[in-house]
Symmetry: C2
Subunit: 230 residues, 2 copies
DNA sequence: GTCTATATGTAGATAGAC
DNA sequence: GTCTATCTACATATAGAC
């Protein structure tokens, strides 16, 4: 039998609550799923709390109750899968390291692969999440959210790349990773564009290997480029 | 707020009008400038016609009169500089061609350079325009606008690159250009990110040469990569 | 073309019953 | 926790005087 041991000494923990019921957790998950879809589809302002509530099948008041307001709901929606994604990325990195000496392509595959795989195999919610991240990434207003959710892991991968190129300027590596993230998000969200521009309209454009090849060659070139500043 | 997004593209709706007065043209330009700033800053739904009117220094009614409604105003705002940008890009391409045999780097410089230069030298309106284009590019709802404003020129540059690599799969080239556009927009809009991730907070991250080096190497790698599909 | 006033709908948020 | 009803603010859009 398990029961809760609680201490009341710490005033900061005064707002500790009972463990949420299974129903409550389910409701929260439904709301987050709905928010993920609607925010991804229409952006922050384009989405309405009412529409999110309707998709989740709950009254609008519950969305405020569980989400903490629209802006906080947005932040929580981004943060939820960011934690999972970071764990997958760091796990992939360690798996690569255990398999042998790291290469730039391996590091980039560890970075992009998990997101890529989840979008392809993880169901429509992950596909929506990719579009949501693209919104966050494209809009400087969400910089605090991006910093909270993605910067620590990004910095970790910059460290790994920097270790592979000891003489490289760290800023160039960071720039290269920013470009690569942009390319990755373009891939994950804009398959239509690849098809439309070359007239084939085909589906076969999503290819992790080619994305990694692009990013790895690009980063190496950016590191070694002697380009002058304007 | 949610509503239908519609565009006035039907040629049957064309009526012949008198030549607009100088004052009218000036008012239209002020409204487009204001819309460019506000749409870039807050996205389509986050922007309000009232805020645009306030920034332009005109009554809100005039924005509707000249802009044709919010959605149509958005489309016109994107299209205005797109025409100028396309002309600059195609001009740069012909200048390069006249100077000697084209290279991939030269083609990419002709593509990215004019936008890059306008953002750096063309004043705050061009900087806002880059953020606006990033919004358009990140949101599939604006696909019709992107197709109208950017696809013809993009297809032209794909042709040029395809001519340089006669044996290359055209779809791979298109994919590489999509990645490169994403990287270019990330560069033009997210200087903060480059600084924040490597801890320097510096400004010197904008460098056309390095961007082109990144994109050129990436595209070549994507073309030649033997990567299997998943 | 310009500007004021206003029509009409919807937004986020909350109070309070259950 | 859940849900109904509602408050207040602000959105787009237009009618009509000048």
């Amino acid at each position: 039998m398990q029961y809760r041991i609680m201490f009341e000494q710490d005033p900061r923990n005064k707002q500790r609550r009972r463990a949420p019921s299974a129903r409550s957790l389910q409701t929260r998950a439904r709301i987050l799923d709905a928010a993920e879809r609607i925010f991804a589809e229409r952006g922050f302002e384009g989405a309405s709390v009412r529409d999110i509530a309707a998709r989740a099948g709950v009254p609008a008041g519950l969305v405020h109750h569980h989400g903490g307001g629209k802006a906080e709901l947005f932040r929580r929606t981004v943060a939820r899968r960011a934690d999972e994604l970071s764990a997958l990325r760091l796990g992939a990195l360690e798996t690569c390291r255990a398999a042998g000496p790291l290469t730039l392509s391996a590091v980039l595959t560890a970075f992009a692969g998990p997101f890529f795989h989840q979008v392809r195999q993880g169901g429509p919610q992950w596909s929506a999440y990719a579009r949501l991240v693209a919104h966050v990434s494209a809009d400087p207003r969400w910089r605090p959210i991006a910093a909270e959710c993605f910067d620590p892991t990004a910095a970790r991968f910059i460290d790994e790349i920097a270790a592979l190129f000891p003489d490289a300027d760290r800023q160039r590596i960071a720039t290269g990773l920013v470009y690569s993230v942009a390319a990755m998000l373009a891939h994950l969200t804009s398959g239509w564009r690849v098809g439309a521009l070359d007239g084939s309209g085909g589906e076969g454009a999503t290819d992790l290997d080619r994305l990694v090849a692009y990013c790895a060659a690009g980063i190496e070139a950016a590191i070694h480029c002697a380009g002058k500043s304007e």
